[in-house]
Structures are given as structure tokens and as C-alpha cells.
């Protein structure tokens, strides 16, 4: 296992997790990487570590360029265990002079790792001498955890951004210019939608404040996926776009079905949207993963939800995705609800409360069908789609 050279002084020493497919409930069809970075300054410095079980891989990569015991400083930009899990073992093996983290990092690392080593707290604007270069810090609270922090290697002009600007994308090609946009764009969108979306307002403020600081990094090095060296502005511009959540003529219809009735309704809603000129994604929870639903919702302006009734409740797979979407707080959505029932329609009406809780503006009446939808009900579903299309068109004016 070899380190990968980023510049003459900085190496990637992380791990590639080709096999992970479920990252705490987020489907990672392309695996991921856990990126750690080694600065070969006079006081060799390690930025972040890897998930615990990948410790040997990280150490082997470090060993390929330097005796690990020569590392003097470790910086933790993010305490989540896919970046800190190997920290206790690394500290024990290396015995660095200092371990730096943010103030919330100190709390969060302590409560996750119960470390038996000291950590030094740094704040925004603090700078440390790493021997021949300087690392300065920018706290990035809630991007995407309270402890999140950016570290900036001044002379090399590299910004290490913890999870921000990353993606779950296992690749042996560790730079943007070695990967094709057609292969990674969906994974970058998916990462934003599943991890960063609820903090979009903070993203916008943070991007603005970083600009005001005059930071213009030549290289952006996140903790997952590849490193941005050819065009770091690309991912910054994408973040600005995703965070703005501007209206777009696209809708997501998400549903589940028991005997095909709610599915039929969903197809008519989708066809009404299509007829109205709206791009539509029809997503069955039998076939789609919750983390893909929110990814499609990222650039959508409408969320339409459909559920059958099972034992006087909404369908469990719908409860799952609605709980997930509520937490991710997509803004500026219109929507509506529909579903089929056998004898109790109340759970379908309860979908209206779910929309309200997600701050989705309901713009068409709920359509219910007792058992299999008849022609009138399907026409009402088509009208629902058309109405939502019109509402989106009004927003786009």
C-alpha cells in the first residue's frame, strides 16, 4: 500500500472502502474512501485518520513515505468515527507531540473514543507552525457536525475540508482530473442531499465568509472521494447552487403499493406532471432507496407522496422515507398526497400532516381511493399532477 503524492510536501494516506454499500442508512453503491493526509514538513503532520478497521491500510501508506513515528502533529478536522476511529491506535503507535481539534471536537472525540491522550483546542484564526509551513484553522460548525473544522496549509495553498466537498465514491484515481463528471456528479449530489442539505443556510454563509477571508485554495482535499486540484471552484459552485435550492421544473412522486392501486394512482399523478411539462421522477419504495429519493428531490420543486393503508397506518416503507426526508429539510417544495385504502382512509389524510411537518405547501386536494381506483379517481390524480405543474410554473416566473 503506497501513499499518493498530492504535492512534493503533501500525500494522501487514506483508505479505499470498495465494499461498503450501506453508510448508516445511506446507500453507497460506489463504495467510499476515507481520506487522511500527511504533510511532510519539518514537523510531519497527519490530518484526520480513517475508519477503525482501515488503520493498517493507512499506516502502510504512511510507512511508504516516512517512518510513522516521525509524525509530530495530528489534526482532527472531524470527529465522526469514519475519520477518528483509527485515532486512538494511531496516537498510541506514533506518540505525536500534539493532537489538535476544535472545541466541539474535544467534546465529541471524548464522548466517542474515551481517549487516553490530550487534545489541544484550536479556534478560527489560530495558526500552528508545522516547520516550514503553517496550518491555520477555520471552524465549520454544523458542516456537517458541531465539531467540523477546516485546516488550511498556507504555503502549499491546500484547504482540508473534512466531509464538506466530498462524496462516497471509491476510486483509485484520487484527483478530479482523473475522473469523469458523468461518473461522479450523481454521487456528489447524493452526498450533499444526504449529509449537507439541512445545513444549506450555513453553507451559504460559510462560503461567503471564506471568500471574505481571501482564501483561494489551489487544492481542496475533502475526507471522502477524490481531491480537487484541477478545478476546485467546480465543487464550490455546485455547493452554492445546491444550497440555494432555487425552483426547478421537476417533481418527485414517491409511493409504495400493496396490490397495485396506489401505484396506478402514482402513475396518473406522474403523467399529469409530465403533461404539464414538469420533469418527473416516479419512485416506488419497493425499488428505490431513501437516499436516492432525497437526491432526486435536491433539484426538485415538488414532492408528491402516496401510501396504501396497512392495519390503519400508512405503509411502513413510506413512514421510513418521510421520516428521513423530514430530517433533511429540503426547502421550497409544493406537494400533495394520495393513496388507496380498504376500509379506513384516515391514514391517507394523515399524510397532509406529514407534508405540513416537512414545510411542503399542499397545493392540491388529497385523493383517496377505496380499493382499486376507478376512472374518476385516476382523472383526479392526473389533475393533481397538472395542478402541481402549474404551481411550479408560477414559482418559476
Amino acid at each position: 500500500m503506497k501513499a499518493v503524492k498530492i504535492t512534493d510536501k503533501v500525500y494522501w494516506v487514506g483508505a479505499i472502502d470498495w465494499n461498503i454499500r450501506d453508510f448508516h442508512g445511506y446507500s453507497t453503491k460506489q463504495g467510499t474512501t476515507y481520506n487522511a493526509f500527511l504533510i511532510l514538513s519539518e514537523k510531519p503532520t497527519l490530518i484526520d485518520t480513517v475508519k477503525k478497521e482501515f488503520y493498517p491500510e493507512m499506516m502502510a501508506r504512511i510507512q511508504s513515505v516516512i517512518d510513522p513515528k516521525k509524525i509530530k502533529i495530528i489534526i482532527s478536522n472531524h470527529s465522526e468515527m469514519d475519520h477518528s476511529g483509527a485515532l486512538p491506535e494511531t496516537v498510541a503507535a506514533i506518540q505525536p507531540e500534539e493532537v489538535y481539534c476544535s472545541d466541539m471536537g474535544h467534546i465529541d472525540l471524548t464522548e466517542q473514543l474515551y481517549p487516553n491522550f490530550d487534545m489541544k483546542v484550536v479556534k478560527t484564526g489560530d495558526r500552528i507552525d508545522v516547520g516550514g509551513d503553517t496550518v491555520s484553522f477555520v471552524e465549520a460548525r454544523m458542516l456537517h457536525w458541531p465539531d467540523s473544522m477546516f485546516s488550511y496549509l498556507e504555503k502549499e495553498n491546500i484547504l482540508f475540508t473534512n466531509d464538506v466537498f466530498g462524496m462516497h465514491y471509491a476510486t483509485g484515481k484520487l484527483f478530479d482530473d482523473e475522473n469523469n463528471e458523468i461518473d461522479w456528479l450523481y454521487e456528489a449530489e447524493k452526498y450533499y442531499a444526504n449529509i449537507v442539505l439541512p445545513y444549506s443556510d450555513i453553507v451559504l454563509r460559510f462560503l461567503d465568509s471564506v471568500k471574505k477571508m481571501g482564501l483561494s485554495p489551489k487544492i481542496i482535499a475533502p475526507d471522502h472521494g477524490f481531491i480537487w486540484r484541477k478545478d476546485p471552484a467546480k465543487i464550490i459552485d455546485l455547493y452554492a447552487k445546491w444550497a440555494a435550492q432555487a425552483p426547478n421544473n421537476k417533481a418527485v412522486v414517491v409511493y409504495d403499493t400493496m396490490w397495485g392501486s396506489t401505484q396506478k394512482m402514482a402513475e396518473y399523478v406522474a403523467d399529469g406532471l409530465r403533461e404539464g411539462g414538469t420533469e418527473v421522477k416516479l419512485m416506488s419504495m419497493h425499488s428505490c432507496h431513501r437516499s436516492d429519493v432525497v437526491t432526486e428531490l435536491l433539484d426538485s420543486s415538488a414532492l408528491v407522496i402516496g401510501s396504501p393503508v396497512l392495519n390503519s397506518e400508512i405503509f411502513p416503507a413510506m413512514a421510513d422515507v418521510l421520516c428521513y426526508l423530514k430530517g433533511l429539510k429540503k426547502k421550497n417544495l409544493v406537494g400533495a398526497a394520495f393513496g388507496s385504502y380498504g376500509w379506513n382512509p384516515a391514514p391517507i389524510k394523515s399524510l397532509e400532516e406529514k407534508l405540513k411537518a416537512m414545510k411542503v405547501e399542499q397545493v392540491a386536494p388529497t385523493v383517496t381511493s377505496k380499493f382499486v381506483p376507478n376512472a374518476d379517481t385516476l382523472e383526479a390524480c392526473r389533475q393533481m399532477g397538472l395542478t402541481i405543474s402549474q404551481k411550479i410554473a408560477e414559482k418559476l416566473k
Binding site: E139, R141, M142, P146, P198, Y199
Partner: protein
């Protein structure tokens, strides 16, 4: 009244105050200084809503 941070879910309880910022127990949310920020996630008072 308690206030909840809409970003991270932290609850400001006037009965407890905020020891991290030397805010004494008994300080109402309304009386917190304008530059007070959430002790967990760092956002301002405008990101808080009253607890139901």
C-alpha cells in the same frame, strides 16, 4: 420558556442558563445578549424557536 435550536436541536432552558458563556441560571431567552450563539452548533438567536 424553553427555546430549541432549529439547526442542531439544542434546548435553551432558562432554569439552567448557559454555563459555557457565563449565562446565569434564570436568564430568559429574550434577555440573552444579541451576540449569544448556540453552545452546540454556533448559530445565532434567530435560529431558535419556542419549545412547544
Amino acid at each position: 420558556m424553553k427555546y430549541i435550536c432549529e439547526i442542531c436541536g439544542y434546548t435553551y432552558d432558562p432554569a439552567e442558563g448557559d454555563a459555557t458563556k457565563d449565562i446565569a441560571a434564570g436568564t430568559k431567552f429574550e434577555d440573552l445578549p444579541a451576540d449569544w450563539v448556540c453552545p452546540v452548533c454556533g448559530v445565532g438567536k434567530d435560529q431558535f424557536k419556542p419549545a412547544e
